[in-house]
Amino acid sequence: MAQRGIREYDAKKLLAERLPDYADDFDYDGQIALVTPETDLEVVAIKNPWVKKKRLVVKPDQLFGKRGAHGLILLDASWDEAKGYIQENMGREVLVGSVVGTLNTFLIEPFVPHEREEEELYVAIKSEGDRDVIYFSTRGGVEIEANWDSVTEISVEVLARPEELHLGERLPAELGEGRKMVGRFVEGLYRLYRDLGFAYLEINPFVIADGKIVPLDLVARLDDAEAFWQRRSWRGIEFPEPFGRALTREEAYVKEIDSRTGASLKLTILNPRGRVWTMVAGGGASVIYADTICDLGFAGELANYGEYSGDPSTEDTYDYTKTILDLLTREKDLEGRPKCLLIGGGIANFTDVAKTFKGVVMALEDYKERLRETGVEIYVRRGGPNYEEGLWIMRKLGERLGVPIHVYGPETHMTRIVSMALGGE
């Protein structure tokens, strides 16, 4: 549960559909189409006849911004040009910031001609503890950060009632005759933001074309915890994976296990050739183990971030452990040092430690040969109900496996096994 980015396409559709409930003169028509590798462009043209009649904008819709700066936007194009552009760029690998990813989703919408940059307006809404903050500027566009001193900041108490907002009156006077309409728009937008589960919304820019407000570029995040309440409003909206992170086969597998159980199983591979592999019980503890490995100067050696918690079944723990062991034992350390597996964790509340180790032990037994061949040392630290038996099981396992297993309980500081494993203590 957290704030999740949504596609510009979905956000604009939501605005077109719902904003008129809040600002009745907002009649942005939501002419917009989404294209993925599976989309038949001819069908797009049938469903959206305007694509053949209007000049178009095409841009990737994959949760990254500054598309203009990256040369990833096609402006004022014909339908044929738009098709050509999409065909050329679909599946292309691009570098955005420091992230390499594949372009796979584009949006098409009508090109709104506007002569001067001064016509571009800026509005953003963000949540901040006891208040929401609305940022507004008449100098929107790509230079907004440089023009930040032009931004009006309007603060709204989180307990403020919708009828006491009067946001229009708090917009800058320089809007002139458009102030009333823009005021209704901003106030409507803010109320929609509150009611429909938004956590962040930025429209930069929007313009007034033919007396209508049209959002040109938009970024939105929703609070996915609201899904239960917003199931009607959000129908069809999905939360895409952030740009550039195609999951590895193993990560996808763990994600799949995670999605079908009530327990939490997480795996992120950082460096498949890394020497240190972690398998930590509990979300809080898993972060701290990764921290400590970094803080002690072994960030480069850390192979993965891994967490299992929420009382996973023996079978799921077994599958999860096997996935990690498989990755861990694919090759020896290039410099011939032992590889380390840290089976860590804090003190469990009510989870039976011996029971959760069952799946781990089964997997370790399966990988006995490969663990030996790869030269793996295992460090275990855990506490909680029945931990003595759990640790005893691990010690006995060491005798059978023929690889060193070092086992510790609550008397040893939680992360001490990191320095033991890596610091050569």
């Binding site: 549960m1 957290a2 704030q3 992230v99 949540s127 503890g129 006891d130 108490e157 989180v158 307990l159 509150r194 589960g197 956590a199 609070d223 915890a225 609201e226 239960f228 309440w229 994976e241 952030p242 992170r245 939490s264 997480k266 992120t268 950082l270 509990g282 979300g283 809080g284 503890a285 898993s286 972060v287 701290i288 990764a290 921290d291 400590t292 490995i293 970094c294 803080d295 002690l296 960030a299 850390l302 971030y305 967490e307 918690s309 804090g346 003190i347 469990a348 509340n349 009510f350 506490g383 909680g384 109900p385 609550p410 008397e411 500081h413 939680m414 992360t415 001490r416 990191v418 320095s419």
Partner: protein
């Protein structure tokens, strides 16, 4: 007596628990008992589904806790309860918390639910602040005041509580975001100092109801606290408020703090840790930046989490040497009996059972019929006959035998409205009784005179044959006793007008049974009786009883003892009652649909023959 503002809980704090969380409530009470509290910390339970009372353990004794359906009722009845531990789901956490905040007596609400929307969390937090009340959570296990009060499941098992010295106050005030790390923190603190005074987890969401700083300032004001310890987290800017408070001189006690999530710099940007708030959206929100700022502001920040405990130890030993803290007295710890279920699961206790069941088992994932999972029973198409084989005989009977049983059930299913069972059921139904009562009324007529002939026929014929009596001897013997041969004789049917049902049963048996000895014996008996009178034929009851014995004799899964059991325990009456229930229910439903009125037997149909009164 009101507590000082810096204290949320003391040894007299009482709570309302929202949600029927029997385990958590028992854990709170066990903690109380461990701490030698004089009154239980749970005043009442709020259970929207049921009001009444709930029985709980207080040490070795059992006590009753009142249970209310609504928060206002509970608050009104228990004005001294200042805390609500809210176990409502993420869906109702907001409404229940807002309602609790509206009760003048409730000062603190702990919200356990995970997944409460951010806006709801912010509205709750702002409302609480406005009313000068405290929210702990959402998305937390809660927290505890050592030796005084425990929120729900905080700190896990009794063993862990004792191990981490939470049954009596120490000298450290601890606050973290993560509830999962609370146990570990209690352990670290207990091993490196005299333990905690209070430990709170504010929850891992982006907008917790109270902040790390809120609790740190309480600890600062609380004279029992000598050292403040805190675990922050990557994401959000809460820790900067601590930096400002440090700079403003609001925190004078030593503050040992570590912000977790320093590894986020090497993780790909998209990794979301378990906590919703744990994602840095600006450089300022990174763990490294926060740790740096805290250190610069004068907090004690270790090099890594690895030396967090060492830093606490240094501070504690320093204060001990200066005489600023004293080692606490170690109180005697009352022993809390282990729950029977736990002891049994660990093999520590045993007890003999009062009941035995050998036919079915509902404890596993799937119910077992005589050891066979129900799914397999259905897959194998065992039918009603097969299921009767499993549940009555604990045996898998062959399909031809199962089919015979089903044939019998169909044949006995009904015999019109006039027979005892149907008539009784109809009368009961007409008297306005419900279906089950009417059915029972009908079934109660089944016995020696009605339906019982099946059992009797099986028994008598088998007895005669086993005793080696010739059919003639048997008939003579029965006549000498003055007893009608059960299973022989029909009101209407006769040799010339045979009973179709009997023909059908015999035909099936001849075709499918390996042996029909008892039938053959019975037919020889019939020859003798029908010679006397045409309607003294083998009737359907007799036929069923006799053929059932032949069925068992033909079926290798049954032995002689099984056959004896069938006769001794009235299995065949069971078969009749089972089949006939179908018809009886039919008659009852029929009467219900007809909306029949009360039946009163006509007086002219009764011969009133009373003795003369003198």
């Amino acid at each position: 007596m009101r507590m000082k503002g810096y204290k949320l809980f003391d040894r007299s704090t009482r709570a309302l628990v929202y949600g029927f969380q029997t385990n958590a409530i028992q854990r709170m009470l066990d903690f109380d008992y461990l701490c030698n509290r004089s009154v239980p910390s749970v005043a009442a339970i709020i259970n929207p589904n049921r009001a009444g009372i709930q029985k709980v353990f207080w040490g070795t004794e059992e006590i009753l806790l009142p249970m209310y359906k609504t928060i206002p009722e509970a608050a009104a009845a228990h004005p001294s309860a200042e805390v609500m531990v809210n176990f409502a789901s993420f869906r109702s956490a907001f409404d229940t918390t807002m309602e609790a905040l509206g009760q003048p007596s409730i000062k603190t609400v702990a919200i356990i639910a995970e997944g409460v929307p951010e806006r709801m969390a912010r509205v709750m937090a702002a409302t609480a602040r406005k009313m000068k009340k405290t929210i702990i959570g959402p998305a937390t296990v809660g927290g505890l005041a050592a030796g005084a009060f425990r929120i729900g499941n905080t700190a896990g098992t009794i063993e862990n509580i004792v191990e981490s010295k939470l049954h009596r106050p120490g000298s450290v005030g601890f606050v973290s975001k993560s509830g999962g790390m609370l146990n570990e923190a209690f352990n670290i603190i207990a091993r490196n100092s005299s333990g905690v005074v209070e430990g709170i987890a504010i929850g891992g969401d982006r907008y917790p109801g109270s902040s790390l700083l809120d609790h740190i300032l309480r600890f600062e004001a609380n004279p029992q606290v000598a050292i403040i310890a805190c675990l922050g987290e990557v994401g959000g800017t809460d820790e900067y408020r601590i930096v400002e408070a440090l700079k403003a001189g609001q925190i004078k006690k030593p503050l040992v703090i570590w912000v977790t999530g320093t590894c986020s710099k090497i993780l790909p940007g998209s990794v979301q840790f378990g906590h919703a708030g744990a994602k840095a959206q600006t450089d300022l929100e990174t763990a490294d930046a926060k740790n740096r700022a805290l250190k610069e502001a004068g907090a004690i920040v270790p090099e890594s989490f690895d030396s967090y405990g060492d830093e606490i130890r240094k501070v504690y030993e320093g204060l001990l040497a200066e005489g600023k803290v004293r080692k606490p007295e170690e109180p005697e710890i009352p022993k809390i009996p282990m729950d029977y279920a736990k002891a049994a699961s660990e093999g520590i206790v045993r007890k003999s059972t009062n009941l035995i069941c050998t036919i079915s088992d509902d404890r596993g994932e799937e119910v077992l019929y005589a050891g066979k999972p129900l799914g397999r029973v259905l897959e194998d198409g065992m039918g009603i006959g097969g299921v009767i084989g499993l549940l009555w005989f604990k045996k898998e009977i062959p399909p031809w035998a199962a089919e015979f049983i089903e044939l019998v059930l169909q044949i006995v299913a009904d015999h019109g409205p006039a027979v005892s069972a149907a008539h009784n059921a109809i009368v009961a139904s007409c008297a306005g009784k419900d279906l089950i009562s009417s059915l029972a009324s009908g079934l109660l007529t089944i016995g020696p005179r009605f339906g019982g002939a099946i059992d009797d026929a099986a028994r008598e014929f088998k007895r005669a044959r086993d005793a080696g009596l010739s059919p003639e001897e048997f008939v003579r013997d029965m006549k000498a006793k003055g007893v009608n041969i059960p299973g022989i004789g029909h009101r209407i049917k006769s040799v010339k007008n045979p009973d179709k049902r009997v023909e059908l049963l015999i035909g099936y048996a001849r075709e499918n049974f390996e042996r029909t000895d008892l039938l053959d014996y019975a037919l020889s008996v019939q020859e003798i009786t029908t010679a006397k009178k045409g309607n003294l034929i083998l009737n359907v009851d007799g036929c069923i009883g006799i053929l059932f014995i032949d069925l068992m004799g033909s079926c290798e899964v049954f032995d002689e003892r099984d056959i004896d059991d069938v006769i001794r325990y009235g299995y065949l009456n069971g078969l009749f009652a089972l089949g006939r229930s179908i018809g009886i229910i039919g008659h009852i439903l029929d009467q219900k649909r007809l909306d029949s009125r009360l039946y009163r037997h006509p007086q002219d149909d009764i011969a009133y023959m009373l003795p003369e009164f003198e």
